[in-house]
């Protein structure tokens, strides 16, 4: 998962069919973005763990947790990424509840609980995500960093971007990530006495629990007689 995307070869995450059918960009080498990634690697040095460039699309850079604030400050000063787009977190654990559309009568389907991170890898469950854009050349960059599994804390970038204040408050109340150095981590949306972190995958969505799913097929079979094939034959093919 950690290999840097060699020139021209598509990273294995997206299906090989992608390059074949994508009409607009064949296997085009995106010079500007590769040059930018190379430059970032030099300035940040060891902080950069993994980078990914999608030609003509976007850059992903993953930095180590400790150098989170320093690398963002470096990017802002060195490469004039001065536009703070947004800050958020991703919880990579697949949700144990699925979409609440399983038939209660049948045994609960088994769901994979393996934590597989997305682009530019990562080994913890939670990942921070910031997007900065250069307001002159309009080149965007997504910066990721792992949030340690045990303490779920990372240092705040309020000092670098004042706008991050609200985003961090939202991430704190939704994911339970602590931000050291944040002026006031009050809840943005939820009432102050709300316990639990809603956006975590293991937080149940009650709306889907309360009501049975009307989509479960209950077509009573023929009253006896020639119903040889399995009833509710038309059930497979979930839309």
């Amino acid at each position: 998962m950690h290999l840097q995307k060699p020139k021209g070869e598509v990273n294995q995450l997206s299906s090989p069919a992608e390059t074949a059918t994508s009409p607009s960009v064949e296997v085009k080498v995106d010079t500007t973005r590769d040059a930018m990634v190379a430059a970032i690697r030099t300035t940040l040095g060891t902080a950069v763990v993994d980078t990914l460039v999608k030609p003509g699309d976007d850059i992903w850079v993953r930095v180590t947790t400790e150098s989170w604030c320093a690398s963002i400050q470096a990017l802002k000063d060195a490469y004039a990424f001065d536009y703070f787009c947004f800050l958020s977190a991703i919880d990579w654990m697949p949700s144990p509840y699925g979409r609440g559309e399983d038939d209660p009568s049948e045994p609960a389907p088994v769901r994979d609980t393996v934590i597989r991170p997305g682009y530019t890898g990562g080994d913890t469950r939670m990942q921070m995500l910031v997007r900065l854009v250069n307001s002159v050349t309009h080149l965007g960059i997504n910066i990721k960093a792992d949030v340690p599994n045990d303490s779920f804390t990372i240092d705040s970038i309020c000092t670098v971007f004042a706008g991050a204040n609200w985003h961090e408050r939202e991430a704190h109340e939704m994911f339970g990530i602590g931000f050291t150095g944040h002026p006031d981590l009050r809840n943005m949306y939820l009432p102050s006495d709300f316990e639990g972190y809603p956006m975590r995958k293991d937080f149940p969505l009650l709306a889907r629990m309360v009501k049975p799913w009307p989509g479960i097929v209950d077509v009573e079979p023929l009253p006896g007689g020639a119903d040889d094939e399995k009833d509710g034959a038309s059930e497979e093919g979930t839309s």
């Binding site: 559309e101 009501k211 799913w213 009307p214 989509g215 097929v217 209950d218 077509v219 009573e220 079979p221 023929l222 007689g225 119903d227 009833d231 038309s234 979930t238 839309s239």
Partner: protein, 144 residues
């Protein structure tokens, strides 16, 4: 002052009614005998507001001497318009074209439980369904 003379263009609702355009999504109409209760619409409804119950029956064979066909007959097909958000996914996903849009919009009810339209009411809406409008000049004629 300019607006003073060109008068008003508000429509006095109780007296004159403004006809909604043909494609307006007012209410969903059900064409009963097209429906084979495959439940695709109630599966794909984001708000879970379509409730279907059906049972199997033997129907006369198409060609004489053939095996009697098994067909699902609808017992209950309700759409709860209190929950529905008129997204139109059910109308689109129905493989047997049993659901249609009709621009009817005057069906508000005093209490909310009446918003659950059962299949007879849905079939009543059928007459208000206009036929498909002609497409713009550049449109490609083949149906998707």
């Amino acid at each position: 002052m300019r607006t003073f003379k060109n008068g008003s263009n508000t429509v006095q609702y109780p007296h004159e009614k403004e006809a909604p355009p043909i494609r307006a999504r007012g209410v969903i109409a059900l064409h009963q005998d097209n429906c084979t209760s495959c439940m695709l619409c109630s599966r794909s409804c984001p708000d879970w507001c379509i409730y279907i119950e059906a049972h199997k029956e033997l129907a006369p064979p198409r060609r004489e001497g053939g095996k009697p066909r098994q067909v699902n007959l609808l017992d209950r097909f309700d759409i709860d318009y209190a929950l529905c958000m008129y997204c139109g996914i059910c109308v689109e996903v129905c493989p047997f074209d049993a659901l249609f849009w009709s621009p009817e919009y005057e069906y508000s009810e005093p209490n909310i439980t009446d918003m659950l339209h059962d299949k007879t009411k849905l079939s009543e809406w059928m007459e208000t369904v206009p036929e498909a409008p002609a497409l713009e000049v550049g449109a490609d004629k083949k149906k998707k």
